[in-house]
């Protein structure tokens, strides 16, 4: 991975971008070989945020490690929690109450909106439109307030548990969620006016960083990145978990797979998620919110894979149980990690200014890449 050994040719400049750089979305390090402003080749170096999540879970056990997935994709924590809970439930064959399933859909779709709002804002900021960032964060704030009321935490929620969810919907939150959804929906056209349909912005993102569907499949990319390139794959529809098979929503796909497609894909998904949240609120049944687990929850011998459609692609937990309180082996499959591998080929030939646009459009969270 270290690119130092290769000799630098005349007229070329090897430039180190990150891990301390304002636009690498955390501690990603890019080694760029520049000829003037044009990227000849790019390599990335990761691992600066490795925190042994898999090992921590193997040591602490399912229940005590349950707050950990929040720290992976910290911009969309609910989906990682769900993937881990799903793996444990499938391994131990725990039944989840109906109400909890609907609450899971509600909370994960709400956080998907928040996560995509961060993407729209940070992507616009990478391209240079600072104002857009503040606009999307204004709406995200409303969503985080909901999560504060729902789980007590704004970002690392620890809401989904093995066998259900942590807390029931507080009284009055139903109306507030509906109000916030309406606000977010009404402000989406504003984003288009300020950024997406802006001519300068269009010139920066339209046709930039195209990725073919074949390449996305070859690299195992998933989520909005792959869908923007035309890969029609969404776990919520293709491998339904929870109660997604009872809900009505569309899977948004793009055509060209450029930065613009990746942006519009996400803004369309915000609309779909708003639709899903409303359905979840309407269809929310009465009942328990958590299955009572034994005091020492143990998973039997066997293997299980729990995968959900995260904010940034397929988030999967593969677990091997050995009859103990912890998985014998846990492997976390992160969407960001696979998506990030597209970057090396996607960057070649583009200009330095496009690096941040393309990287921003892939939307990585380094906590999820390094785990």
């Amino acid at each position: 991975m270290q690119g130092h050994a290769e000799p630098v040719h005349h007229e070329e400049m090897l430039i180190n971008m990150g891990p301390q750089h304002p636009s690498t979305h955390g501690v990603l390090r890019l080694l760029l070989r520049l000829r003037g402003e044009v990227i000849e080749s790019a390599r990335f170096v990761i691992g600066y945020l490795h925190r042994c999540h898999e090992q921590l879970t193997e040591q602490n056990g399912w229940i005590r490690a349950m707050p950990l997935p929040d720290r992976l994709d910290y911009l969309s924590p609910i989906t990682s929690e769900w993937a881990m809970a799903l793996a444990a439930e499938r391994l131990a064959q725990v039944e989840v109450p109906e109400r909890a399933e609907w609450l899971r859909v509600l909370s994960s779709e709400l956080y998907r909106i928040a996560s995509h709002l961060v993407f729209v804002g940070t992507f616009a900021m990478d391209v240079g439109a600072t104002t857009m960032f503040l606009y999307t964060f204004r709406e995200r704030e409303l969503l985080l307030d909901i999560f504060e009321k729902l789980s007590g935490q704004r970002m690392t929620c620890h809401y989904i548990r093995v066998g259900g969810v942590g807390w029931d919907l507080p009284s009055g939150l139903d109306a507030e969620i509906r109000r916030v959804l309406k606000t977010v929906e009404s402000r989406l056209p504003e984003y288009d006016d300020v950024f997406t349909n802006n001519r300068v912005a269009r010139a920066r993102i339209e046709g930039v960083g195209t990725m073919s569907a074949e390449r996305c499949r070859a690299f195992g990319a998933s989520g909005p990145v792959a869908r923007a390139s035309g890969v029609d794959f969404d776990l919520r529809r293709d491998a339904p978990y929870g109660v997604y098979d009872k809900l009505d929503f569309d899977v948004v796909t793009g055509e060209r797979g450029d930065c613009l497609d990746r942006l519009t894909c996400r803004t369309m998904e915000i609309r779909e998620s708003i639709k899903l949240c409303r359905q979840a609120l309407d269809g929310l049944p009465e009942g328990d919110i958590r299955t009572k687990l034994p005091a020492r929850f143990k998973t039997p011998e066997g293997v299980a894979y729990g995968a959900v459609e995260g904010g940034r692609g397929e988030c999967g937990y593969f677990a091997i149980g050995d009859g103990g309180e912890a998985p014998y082996r846990l492997k976390i499959r992160s969407g960001c990690f696979s998506n990030l591998h597209l970057i090396e080929k996607a960057l070649a030939g583009w200009k330095l200014a496009d690096v941040v646009a393309i990287l921003g459009s892939i939307d990585i969270v380094l906590g999820d890449v390094d785990r």
Binding site: N16, V127, A129, T130, V194, A203, R204, V355, V356
Partner: protein
């Protein structure tokens, strides 16, 4: 009466002997005025930039230092003064140290020929506009050498971008200024304003005081738009802030600068912002001439020609520049060059031809 006596005695007792001893000291007065003006206007501009951007981004901006945060920039300046002045070990020390001043000094020097009000001009050079453009374009040298001397690849890229950008955008800027020179028939800044204030050769009815402004002629209107676009690039403001491009080049040419040296770059940038607005106001929008009445009577006096109008006009222009900055994304380097070479420069050349026709037909 008491106060006048006191002032008189001060002038007689202190100022007169001083003037007798060193007569050239009188030339320092306008310089002092310019330095104070630049310092104060930059402090106000930084505060205004924060407040305007906050307003656009639905925030409130600084609030705590003074009423509605007006002293925020004073504290900013104090903070920068007290910060450590770091110089990278591998940097070219001498060049690194003087680069901010190379950028800053021209930004102040050009104020010498700006007419703020009737007679409020430090030196009414007969080559005023030419002096202004030539001295004003020296500032880019500071940016380029700062990028080079830092011995940092990001700074170098920023410096190279600055070189490409500032030199490219000087061409449409000069070509749009040439239009005014042709119409005014003079390079003296004061005469340019006086020509406009007279309303001599306008297409509009002569009794409207602002009819003589060059922005109300066809070539002048095109030139003013071209000038303002080029000016955005000249002062490195979004959408043309490529030399510092925070999200791409960390901080561009000033990445390695800290403390007061960084503050001086900042000072130069904002001083330049006020300057290009001032030039635009002077040569296209009638400078200190009033759009309401030239010489009012009674209460109308305050609306007459004067220094107030100069500041009203640059405030409006600077607000427009801030508005653009906080709305638009950044263009890419090739797009930036394309805008200039394929758009602005041909248009500016055609506009010069239009100006020739205008001068021949309507008369200077």
């Amino acid at each position: 009466m008491e106060e006048r006596g006191w002032l008189e005695s001060l002038v007689n007792g202190l100022v007169q002997p001083l003037y007798d001893a060193v007569p050239w000291i009188v030339h320092l007065v306008p310089l002092l005025w310019i330095l104070v003006l630049v310092a104060v206007s930059v402090l106000i501009l930084i505060w205004a930039e924060r407040k305007v951007s906050a307003d656009i981004q639905s925030r409130v901006g600084p609030l705590h230092h003074g009423p509605i945060g007006v002293f925020q920039s004073v504290w900013d300046a104090l903070k920068l003064l007290t910060k450590e002045d770091t110089i990278p070990r591998q940097a070219d020390r001498l060049v690194f140290c003087i680069a901010p001043f190379i950028a800053f000094v021209p930004a102040v020097l050009v104020y010498v020929v700006i007419p703020f009000g009737k007679g409020w001009i430090a030196a009414d050079l007969n080559v005023g506009l030419w002096y202004l453009l030539s001295v004003g374009s020296l500032g880019v040298v500071g940016v380029i050498v700062a990028g080079w001397a830092s011995n940092n690849k990001w700074s170098l890229l920023g410096g190279m971008r600055a070189a490409a950008q500032l030199i490219t955008y000087e061409i449409p800027m000069f070509l749009s200024v040439v239009v005014v020179i042709m119409m005014a028939g003079t390079l003296s800044m004061d005469d340019i304003v006086r020509n406009q204030a007279g309303g001599r050769w306008s297409l509009a009815p002569p009794e409207t005081p602002f009819a003589g402004w060059y922005c109300f002629t066809i070539p002048g209107l095109i030139a003013s738009v071209l000038y303002l676009v080029a000016a955005l690039a000249e002062v490195n403001r979004q959408p043309f802030d490529l030399p510092e491009a925070e999200s791409e080049l960390v901080s561009g040419f000033n990445t390695e600068y800290s403390g007061m040296r960084f503050a001086i770059f900042f000072l130069a940038e904002f001083s330049n912002t006020a300057l290009v607005a001032g030039i635009a106001a002077t040569i296209f929008f009638g400078g200190w001439s009033s759009p309401i009445v030239s010489e009012g009577e009674g209460i109308w006096q305050i609306f007459g020609d004067g220094i107030v109008w100069y500041f009203v006009k640059i405030t409006a222009l600077i607000y427009g520049m801030m508005w653009v900055k906080w709305t638009l994304p950044r263009v890419r380097i090739d797009q930036m060059l394309q805008v200039a070479w394929k758009g602005l420069i041909p248009l500016a050349l055609i506009n010069v031809a239009i100006a020739v026709a205008h001068v021949a037909w309507v008369g200077p």
